[in-house]
Point group: C2
């Protein structure tokens, strides 16, 4: 590869002068501007099938000694990286939570990078600081709907914060539970607070043996990380069996009471508004009451489902979220913002003072520097993307997108139910559903002996894993898979296809094609062939 | 403001069709492409002086109900947001660690957003996963320089990880100390490990009363956050007095021994390679030996200074960094990558297994999903920006930039030393220095009585704060300020101007102009006028 010269003059040019209009990078840009979807279809052309093959292109651990020309590098990027990326715009890729983005995010991202603000402090972000506070306030309002006085008092207050903007839902969940922990184990006469004295001292002072967090078994894996990093311990994440995919309030109350009676303390109940695996929503209103009765923090992980609040028709599914002490929402999911936009929203504007910190050169007492109550330090101006989306879509625009996705999930569920080769495993509440391939001969399997069920479900599990991989590797479409407990199969864990209908470019015909592809793959599969010949008598 | 229609057809257009070439957003893009620096000079035109005035434009807590046209919104962004941003390209803004960026990051950021990969798992990132592993491996190699066998064994190993890519240095420090904590308090016969059992149980099992982290008083504020969130407690961050701006090894050893003899445990020593305030580098080689003698983890926070390793001439300043168990580096600092690119690098490829976690639908056992050992979950493809910079600059390109910045800091220190109105407070080790305005009449103040010193230094502190604010508000240039203990003033804390010379566009003439502006402001200031008349006799 041609090497560029090593000189300060050359470097200055790299800082100041873009390349010619006909350079590779300029062409990439124009193509992205004209039609991202077409750019991706043209360049994401998997030639290598295995990860190991791709790794060959990324195998040196040496920073190259000499500079490369930007255009040669851009060509290498197209060839090695872009070609083997995932086409998130493809309407038949319905297995993950990222989708096509509205085109305006591309030029906006360029503006964000050109400005290169650092939102940790006002000195390096200026108007971005009030913009981020306003964005958080809008989310707060969407959830908690306080009056004008409330927002005019707290939106831009140096001593308060309506939330924390961060890189994603995991950091948002950790931030919310960090606040909850520090509030519960706060300073008292004779005790400086957990933030200063540490967790072991706090347990001694408050006479705590175990501190638990309760959630359904469908809780996001970030909750496990949160209890690990916060020093609470993964054993104290109390994951309640949830064969109906939700945390049942009676079960939660009974479990919580028994837990407390044994001398344990409960830090929080975590309700989920849109589980990652099936899109179910916990009964938030009742869980809020349970949390109140048990005297603990109520956090709602609405990373996926939070945007449903934009829809008049569907927002009642989240009824009770306004009782939550804190809420996690990801704008990079159903708000169609690029990756990297999470938020933790706090009902009480004073709550995040439990993690407030200061330094000599920034985050000084009385400043409005956003970094004083965030887990992250330096952060980029991603809040602009959320702010702009709020304005360009408006609430009603988001409503249309949300409603459309949920309607499409129901339409897909109907297709699956009507098809003799499939079994719907969880019906859509939001725009997610799960299902599996199942020969008509095995219909009614839930009525068989538990031994029969187990044996046949295990074969079906194997089939699902195999078909999911084959379909992914064929590269035309992508459906993900997971493993969840299913009530009608005596709470047995079953491997299922998982579908997220978020991409507005996905049509019902795309969905039909995906089912047809799966049937075709199954028909060539030994397990399917065997099970299709399974005599009804044997399982009857 | 004109409202766009609310229809699915309109929304599809927003997802698929860019605006006309003469739209506002298209014009913004072209201007950014042609000349970012000119775009910023033209549009960042502060008309509002106070933050409160800016806040007026961001005061509503309502998501607008109806959609706006993209172009009207883009005009509003220019007017409300861009106009009141910080011009990070301005060569006279030498008060923070963000600077002008090489132009290629603008089109690359657009590519990154267009691809919208999620690096938590291979299914949504594919080639980005090996790319990120390679990037981390290159950093590992830069620090630890292991042989080819080492990298071919570990670079792409599912059971190992050479580091964690994250949004910034704070998360990197927290990740490194989380790993250190979990390694120290790991599983043993009869104990499941701190990650599972929690910190209080771990302290009981390991018979720990206090668990401390030692660093100099110049340690970054993120370390305080780390001990808070990890449950160790801020009181257990042992900040050692550092009037010479470094952690002195003899002091560290003596303190550590005394601390342990009192029955306390030491988790880690944190050496700093480039303090945020003055750019000093701790004596890493000797501190590594101290950590070894005390039997604790040695972490190096090289968020700022890590890139110095690219320079043959200057890398010896970091000698001993290869003895660190973990190292934090920010690519968005001296590697000129856009905000949002931090890394925690681990010497031992097995280290991060102490925080490894799994889930049913991703991060499965044996997968190479990057999310299995990161604190964050969903993450964007920022590693591409680092990867591309490594190739486009090459090691030698970075070397030139690093050497140039350090040389310029020395030139600036010479200017300050030669100027009778200034006092250099800390000389540059890297490209940072601190200084203050000080009338010639107060030269030799360090020889006066401590009472005199204190009284006069307090007046000078007030002057520094006032001039720094005036200069910032005038908007032509920006120097930051901080407060540090200074040995020659009996370790008194002094307020100083803080300068970071990172922007390659900054010339020595820019620096002269900044000093001249400060002198002009001082001459109109009552404190300066008073102190300039201060009779030499009085302080003699």
């Amino acid at each position: 590869m041609a090497k560029a010269e090593v000189s300060l003059e050359h470097l200055f040019r790299v800082f100041t002068k873009p390349e010619h209009n006909d350079s590779t990078l300029a062409k990439i840009e124009r193509h992205l501007s004209d039609n991202v979807s077409d750019f991706l279809s043209q360049h994401v052309v998997t030639k290598k099938t295995s990860l190991e093959e791709i790794e060959q292109d990324f195998s040196s651990a040496h920073v190259p000694d000499s500079p490369e020309f930007v255009s040669s590098h851009a060509e290498a990027l197209l060839d090695k990286l872009v070609a083997h990326s995932v086409n998130t715009y493809a309407p038949t890729f319905i297995g993950h939570m990222t989708s096509a983005l509205p085109y305006f995010h591309l030029p906006l991202s360029k503006l964000m990078v050109g400005l290169n603000q650092n939102l940790v402090k006002i000195e390096t972000s200026k108007a971005f600081t009030p913009l981020e506070r306003q964005t958080l306030g809008m989310m707060h309002n969407l959830i908690y709907a306080q009056d004008e006085d409330f927002y005019s008092q707290y939106l831009h207050s140096a001593e308060h914060s309506l939330g924390a903007f961060c890189s994603g839902g995991t950091i948002a969940n950790i931030t919310a539970l960090w606040v909850a922990r520090n509030l519960k184990l706060g300073p008292q006469p004779g005790f400086s607070g957990v933030n200063k004295a540490g967790l072991a001292s706090a347990y001694r002072h408050y006479n705590i043996h175990n501190l638990g967090l309760m959630t359904s078994r469908r809780g996001h894996y970030s909750l496990g990380k949160a209890v690990d990093v916060l020093g609470i311990g993964r054993d104290n994440l109390l994951s309640i069996d949830s064969p109906r995919q939700i945390l049942e309030p009676e079960k939660a109350l009974a479990f919580g009471k028994a837990y407390q009676e044994k001398g344990n303390s409960l830090l929080a109940i975590i309700g989920i508004a849109g589980t990652t695996e099936t899109g179910h929503i916990d009964p938030l209103d009742e869980l809020a009451d349970v949390a109140k009765e048990l005297g603990c923090h109520f956090h709602v992980d609405a990373a996926w489902g939070g945007a449903t609040l934009f829809s008049e028709r569907n927002r009642s599914k989240l009824a009770g979220i306004e009782k939550a002490d804190s809420v996690t929402i990801d704008a990079h999911k159903q708000m169609y913002v690029p990756m990297g936009a999470g938020m933790a929203i706090f009902k009480d504007p004073k709550a995040s003072n439990a993690v407030r910190h200061h330094a000599q050169y920034i985050l000084r007492q009385g400043s409005k520097d956003l970094g004083a109550t965030t887990l992250e330090g330096s952060r980029n101006g991603m809040a602009m993307m959320v702010y702009s989306s709020f304005h360009i879509f408006g609430r009603r625009g988001y409503e249309l997108l949300i409603d459309r996705a949920i309607d499409q999930a129901h339409a897909f569920a109907d297709m699956i139910n009507a098809h003799e080769c499939f079994e719907l495993m969880t019906a859509p509440v939001l725009s997610l559903l799960t299902y599996r391939l199942r020969p008509i001969e095995l219909k009614g399997l839930e009525n068989e002996s538990s031994q029969q069920q187990r044996m046949l479900n295990e074969q079906l599990d194997e089939l699902t894993v195999s078909i999911q991989k084959q379909q992914r590797e064929a590269g035309k479409s992508f459906v993900s898979r997971t493993r969840i407990e299913i009530e009608k199969y005596n709470n047995q864990a079953i491997t299922v296809f998982r579908v997220v209908l978020a991409n507005p470019l996905t049509t019902n015909d795309d969905l039909k094609a995906i089912l047809a592809e799966q049937v075709a793959l199954a028909e060539g599969h030994a397990i399917w062939q065997g099970l299709s010949k399974h005599p009804r008598a044997k399982i009857a």
